[in-house]
């Protein structure tokens, strides 16, 4: 039996964009989408795609990427397909603009997973680089009653079990759980593969499945927001940096050591 894998992925503002381009619309309490800087697939979610494709490299498997949002850059969201994923399902609705509320997003994704049926393994990035909540994947596991292991750096499927190397503060542990399961992965999994030319060609031809809120048939009560955003602001940095200068760089290095001794740090 092929392993049926879903990857949950999110489109985010490029976290590598220049800091000067990072701006907040205080009235709307949201980050302004920077013009001329295309969005990206959340980095940890690309790690999740890579983890799924590594399983597909080793055994018969299919990989479906599912994403929720109000507007997508299709060429960006097709990247997992060009890396080697088989299908793309986009949950797209104006009602999905609320990404602050993890409960809401998890309900949408769980509904899509239920509707698509039959997944053995769901792989997610540990958190999204915009809201850094690290809640949606764990919530989807809870809503669907799946086994759940967080923070993987290597994922394997054997004999009806997911076996994962999971990060702990002083190393890693090998954890196994029965399928169906949901796991989250971290950047320690390694660089995601680059799309091949053949992959890009294949992805161009593929059409995503697009579902609106009505297609998911969710009870309105489940979509009630669990949190309210009151304010969003850029924190004030108050450090006054004392630049240590010298005749040359070596002299500055010496003076730095003396300054640190003078202030009793060393």
């Amino acid at each position: 039996m092929p392993v049926k894998i879903a990857v949950l992925a999110k489109q985010v503002i490029d976290p590598e964009m220049p800091m000067a381009a990072f701006q907040i619309d205080a009235g709307a309490k949201r980050v302004v989408t920077p013009p001329n800087i295309p969005p990206v697939v959340n980095g940890f979610d690309e790690n999740a795609v890579e983890a799924a494709l590594q399983i597909k490299d080793a055994q018969e498997a299919s990989v479906t990427v599912i994403s929720a949002g109000s507007a997508f850059a299709l060429d960006v969201m097709k990247k997992p397909l060009s890396m080697g994923a088989d299908e793309l399902v986009l949950l797209q609705d104006d009602a999905f603009a609320n990404t602050v509320d993890s409960f809401f997003t998890a309900q949408l994704l769980a509904a899509a997973v239920r509707k698509l049926e039959g997944f053995d393994l769901i792989i997610c990035g540990r958190q999204a680089s915009d809201w850094d909540n690290a809640q949606v994947p764990l919530g989807v596991a809870e809503l669907l009653g799946l086994s759940c292991i967080a923070l993987g750096k290597k994922v394997d499927v054997r004999e009806g079990q997911v076996v994962m190397e999971r990060l702990i503060p002083d190393g890693y542990e090998v954890v196994e759980a029965p399928l169906p399961a949901l796991v989250t992965v971290s950047n320690e999994l390694g660089q995601p593969r680059y799309p091949t030319l053949r992959g890009i060609m294949a992805a161009t031809r593929k059409r995503p499945t697009i579902w609106s809120v009505a297609d998911l048939g969710l009870d309105a009560g489940l979509l009630e927001p669990r949190v309210t955003l009151h304010d969003l602001f850029v924190p004030v940095r108050n450090a006054e940096c004392e630049i240590i200068e010298g005749d040359d760089e070596a002299d500055a290095g010496r003076k730095l050591a003396l300054r640190l001794r003078e202030d009793k740090f060393i």
């Binding site: 976290p15 800091m19 990072f22 907040i24 980050v31 602050v100 993890s102 409960f103 540990r126 958190q127 680089s129 809201w131 850094d132 690290a134 809640q135 764990l138 919530g139 596991a141 809870e142 086994s147 759940c148 967080a150 923070l151 503060p169 890693y172 542990e173 090998v174 954890v175 196994e176 759980a177 029965p178 971290s186 950047n187 320690e188 669990r226 949190v227 309210t228 955003l229 009151h230 969003l232 602001f233 850029v234 924190p235 450090a239 006054e240 940096c241 004392e242 630049i243 240590i244 760089e249 070596a250 002299d251 500055a252 290095g253 730095l256 050591a257 003396l258 300054r259 640190l260 001794r261």
Partner: protein, 332 residues
């Protein structure tokens, strides 16, 4: 169910000791409970909890729920979650606070979903809104580039507090508090995930989290070799070596060197950064340092906005001279 009241902390007491993070969350919880004029309770999980229960009272708890079962002797995610859910439904608090520890970052969201409520993750500050009496939580978002202020629409209102932000209260052994024994039933069939091997990748010397001086390197080092020079300086100072995510992702140092949002949170007295640009997601792991030193060739790098001392220049020349001078100073 009637709207809950009181503040409940989900605490940790591994190895029969109240964890430092739980002490910190108790300090945060005490402020919140006093602001509301309500009781502060803490739940501890384990097989024997007399010692940590007394410590929790000394650190500010009015009440301790000692949730006991032989299977809770060591952390096991599904068993702990089940015990937490049972307790929370029974106690019905208005607010639940946790520490965003390694365990907390997984357990807090899963518990929130089981209870059907919202959670503010990784909070830098929790307070009570005077007008509404609701819990307000400040949390960094966008890799620390922004801060969001959230409240929860359902009770219990939940927040997970970032470790090393709050200072524990001075323990007072004379404080009185009630300890309530709360045995739970836990079926073996709850267990789904099993740890089959633990691999320690401990660095030699002082642990990064415990070091009072940390020397850290970033992308600008250009390769793994320069970390030997960082090790040398760290050793002279009795400190530890850390790294930015870029250095870890490039494979120059192991993952457990990583300082930042998705790595370790450290609060040394002195944090010496070598060729680190100071992206927000890195600063999220070290902004609690007493003083930061920046050595970077780019005078516009963000790290100079966060540092107390800076040297603009080639890191290799600066570091060599810095290390030699430190060697002379420590030998005196």
């Amino acid at each position: 169910m009637a709207e809950g009241t009181g503040v409940l902390i989900i605490g940790e007491a591994p190895g029969g000791e109240l964890s430092l993070t739980t002490q910190e969350v108790l300090a945060a919880g005490r402020q919140v409970a006093d602001g509301l004029g309500q009781e502060l309770a803490v739940a501890l999980f384990g097989d024997t909890l007399e010692g940590p229960a007394r410590q929790a009272v000394a650190h500010g708890a009015d009440k301790v729920y000692a949730v006991t079962h032989p299977s809770l002797a060591a952390f096991q995610v599904e068993l702990y979650l089940s015990a937490m859910e049972t307790l929370c439904r029974e106690v019905n608090p208005g607010i639940i606070l946790m520490g965003r520890t390694n365990e907390g970052r997984e357990v807090a969201p899963r518990l929130a979903f089981r209870l059907g409520v919202g959670l503010a993750q990784d909070c830098l500050e929790v307070s009570v809104d005077a007008a509404s009496g609701k819990l307000l939580a400040n949390r960094p978002v966008y890799g620390g580039n922004a801060v969001a202020v959230l409240s929860c629409n359902y009770t219990p209102q939940m927040a997970a507090v970032r470790p090393k932000v709050y200072e524990p209260l001075e323990p007072d052994a004379s404080r009185a508090g009630e300890v309530i024994s709360f045995p739970v039933d836990l079926a073996d069939s709850l267990v789904r995930s099993r740890v089959i091997e633990v691999v320690k990748e401990e660095a030699e010397g002082v642990k990064l989290e415990d070091a009072s001086i940390v020397v850290a390197g970033g992308r600008g080092l250009g390769g793994p070799e320069p970390f030997a020079s960082l090790e040398e300086l760290a050793k002279l100072l009795g400190g530890a070596v850390g790294a930015s995510r870029a250095a870890v992702d490039s494979g120059w140092v192991p993952a457990n060197y990583q300082v930042g949002l998705t790595g370790k949170t450290i609060t040394p007295d002195l944090y010496i950064t070598i060729a680190i640009s100071g992206a927000s997601q890195h600063m999220a792991g070290c902004s609690g340092s007493k003083a930061i030193v920046a050595i970077n060739k780019d005078a516009e790098a963000n790290i100079f906005k966060e540092a107390r001392y800076g040297v603009v220049g080639d890191w290799e020349k600066v570091l060599t001279a810095l290390t030699e001078t430190v060697r002379e100073l420590v030998q005196d």
